[in-house]
């Protein structure tokens, strides 16, 4: 059972951060694990909702460097393990923690596009 994770992007009332555990990714930066993670991402039908390459489909893009629920290792792990309210299924019941960490490793290994904010049509 993973410990509770705090989102450090939240505003802390009174300026005081609530106590929280930490989750660290055992595969952080491991390229082979990222490759496994990409395969698991497809095998678990994540791509059916988040699109090929996790570029966004019915579910949000996971490779735009922007996150609804936080992009830290522990926060992404939580999103996958317990699901999220607007239609993200909880995978903790069928995926072992190593598998989830490999997906996290894959997602975090994707390059964040540089010109995200501006889309330009005129020269």
């Amino acid at each position: 059972m993973p410990p509770a994770v705090r989102s450090d992007a939240h505003v802390f009332a009174g300026g005081v951060a609530p106590p929280a555990g930490t989750l660290s990714n055992p595969f952080a930066g491991d390229r082979q694990a990222a490759g496994d993670g990409e395969r698991i991402f497809r095998a678990m039908n994540c791509d059916g909702c988040h699109g090929g390459g996790a570029l966004g489909w019915e579910g949000p893009s996971l490779v735009d460097g922007r996150w609804r629920y936080g992009g830290g290792d522990g926060e992404v792990f939580h999103s996958i393990y317990y699901g999220r309210p607007r239609g993200m299924p909880a995978y903790g019941g069928i995926l072992e923690t190593d598998g989830i960490w490999k997906i996290v490793t894959y997602l975090r290994a994707q390059p964040v596009p540089q010109d995200v904010p501006t889309e330009q049509w005129t020269p």
């Binding site: 698991i40 699109g51 735009d64 995926l95 596009p113």
Partner: protein
């Protein structure tokens, strides 16, 4: 590896006879109003059901707005729904009130058309599970409501049907019909025949076991369930079942291998029609799952088919499969338009259907016999439809499957030669059908898919490109007696809006880049256009207001598949920034999400 995708399979033990009503052939000698069914007869100027009438012609006999004066049309009112999802479907107008259902969270608004500014009489805000937003394959859309007997009946995305009192806005009943844990959601508009509310699920991308259900209009109680695939007892194929081309028992079981039918998709998410004289309900079924067709050998009946059922007990009377062993996500959920046409000198009771597979079919709606089947857009997957067998002559080089690698240049794309989202209209004055079409082709690379309940069951990557000519869509006029295009208006983007035809000989449709247009029904000349603020994926209606004047209404609000394909049309979520569609990189230059109801008048 340590991860083991356990692939739990739904267990279907409920297929014992007790669950399914015996088809009992009671002849109901009710005489129902068939008025305006084909545009003949009296038109009360209202719009009470999605397709205008049971025949789904979307034709109005109102004549105040004509080809001669439509250029003077101007907006008289607009309303932001406050919701950004794709605004498919159409409003209803009954007794001086306009009813609007929004995409998730499925708010129902009732506007008082007799008051200046059309203030609300009431609004109804149901409690809808937000989980449905992720389980719905293709945006959190809704296709509208049905009015009958003082009730507004519609579906909530999370698998419920509700009936609301049309005068007070009070909820009368709410019934769970679908199961999101199996990937079922419910954006379609219910269809009411006599006291039966007919509903069906989406989920062709989630490996559901598709069905249609009938609820009791008075109470919401479930009356019958008819599956679209599986044993005859589940499909309700009994003694009454006489398909024109196929013979023998258990067709919807034997045309699948093993238990593939249990997760074979075959959803019901489109439009329904009814012929009171024949007492037959008609609807199309969706794709077979998964997209990787090698996982489901066989014809996969009754995927991609039209079914004719008795509304009373659901008994199947005939069925015809447009795309046997569907390989390309060619759902057949598009409308079935019921008109009587003279074909080769003989007046026939026909059913006209524009399929995703690119063929327009004119069927005998008594028997299911194919009378005409001709392509209305570029088709490469099949050469023609063989009249003797009713089957398409497939180009085997365009068959897909995980062992076939990347199969190129399949037309139409899986968005369809016409999307079922955009129902056609028929004018008895011109004898023509008015149809929103797409000119998109695709490459199709299939891969093995694992069925995990509540997640997509697909197994394909399918990039699109424009078909011959480079334009991606056209609004066309079609002669279904011979299967011929009469005129077309080319559009830069696929045309995703429904249409309406009127006795003033004008037709209306909208475009993805946000134009609402009126064209001359005879010549196809564009007579008027107005930029409505967001791309149009809804269906226009026309009605007579309490002041006696004719109005035209349409939703703006791009979405549905375009929410997925062209993710840069959304601007509401700073945490979700997507690239444009590679085949339509400029769409977001012309439109953004936003739900607006528009009313136009002279």
């Amino acid at each position: 590896m340590t991860w083991q995708p356990s692939t739990p399979r739904a267990i279907f033990s409920s297929l014992d006879a007790g669950v399914f009503m015996r088809p009992c052939r009671i002849l109901l000698l009710l005489s129902l109003p068939w008025a305006g069914a084909q545009g003949q007869g009296r038109d009360d100027g209202q719009w009470t059901m999605p397709g205008k009438n049971y025949a789904s012609t979307r034709y109005s006999t109102l004549t105040a707005i004509t080809a001669a004066n439509v250029a003077r049309l101007r907006p008289v009112w607009s309303f932001s729904t406050g919701v950004l999802g794709g605004h498919e479907g159409q409003p209803l107008v009954v007794d001086g009130t306009m009813y609007v259902v929004t995409p998730f969270p499925n708010v129902l608004y009732a506007f008082d058309l007799a008051q200046e500014g059309y203030p609300l009489k009431w609004k109804y805000r149901p409690d809808v599970s937000a989980t449905s937003v992720g389980i719905a394959c293709c945006d959190a859309i809704n296709r509208g409501a049905f009015y009958t007997g003082g009730k507004i009946v519609y579906n909530l995305l999370d698998g419920h049907t509700v009936a609301v009192d049309a005068v007070t806005g009070k909820e009368l009943w709410k019934t769970q019909i679908a199961d999101m844990t199996r990937g079922e959601t419910t954006p379609m508009a219910p269809f009411v025949v006599k006291d039966r509310v007919i509903v069906g699920p989406s989920g062709g991308e989630f490996g559901i076991h598709g069905w249609a259900k009938a609820l009791d209009l008075a109470t919401g109680r479930l009356i019958w369930t008819a599956y679209n695939a599986g044993p005859d007892s589940a499909v309700l194929a009994g003694a009454a079942f006489k398909p024109f081309y196929d013979k023998g028992p258990e067709l919807a079981l034997k045309t699948w291998e093993g238990d593939a039918w249990q997760t074979g998709g075959v959803p019901v998410w489109g439009w329904l029609s009814y012929d009171p004289e024949l007492d037959l309900l008609y609807f199309g079924t969706g794709n077979a799952a998964p997209y990787n067709a090698e996982q489901r050998p066989g014809d996969n009946k009754w995927a991609s088919s039209v079914l004719a059922r008795r509304p009373e007990d659901g008994a199947l009377v005939w069925a015809y499969q447009f795309t046997p062993h569907e390989n390309w996500d060619y759902d057949a959920n598009a409308e079935m338009i019921l008109v009587d046409l003279t074909i080769q000198g003989r007046l026939r009771k026909t059913l006209v259907h524009f399929d995703k597979n690119g063929f327009a079919y004119t069927l005998d709606r008594v028997t299911g016999e194919v009378l005409v089947a001709e392509p209305f857009t570029t088709v490469t997957w099949a050469k023609r439809v063989d009249r003797a067998s009713g089957r398409p002559v497939v180009d085997t080089t365009r068959l897909t499957g995980a062992s076939r690698g990347n199969v190129r240049d399949i037309c139409p794309s899986l968005e369809g030669g016409k999307t079922p989202v955009a129902p056609a209209a028929y004018s008895p004055r011109t004898g023509l059908f008015y149809v929103a079409t797409n000119n998109l082709c695709m490459d199709f690379e299939a891969s093995a898919a694992a069925h995990i309940a509540g997640t997509p069951y697909i197994g394909a990557s399918t990039p699109y490109h424009a078909g011959p000519g480079g334009h991606m869509g056209a609004f066309i006029a079609w002669d279904a007696r011979v299967g011929r295009k009469v005129w077309e208006i080319r559009e830069p983007y696929p045309v995703w809006s429904g249409s309406v035809a009127t006795a003033g000989d004008v037709v209306f449709y909208g475009t993805l880049d946000g134009w609402f247009k009126a064209a001359d029904a005879r010549s196809g000349k564009v007579l008027w256009k107005f930029k409505v603020g967001s791309g149009v994926v809804g269906c226009p209606i026309t009605y007579r207001g309490p002041d006696g004047k004719q109005y035209v209404a349409i939703y703006a609000g791009i979405g549905g598949d375009w929410f997925l394909l062209s993710g840069d049309v959304r601007s509401d979520d700073p945490a979700d920034v997507r690239p444009p569609a590679d085949f339509a990189p400029n769409l977001a230059r012309h439109t953004s999400q936003g739900g607006i109801v528009w009313i136009f008048g002279l």
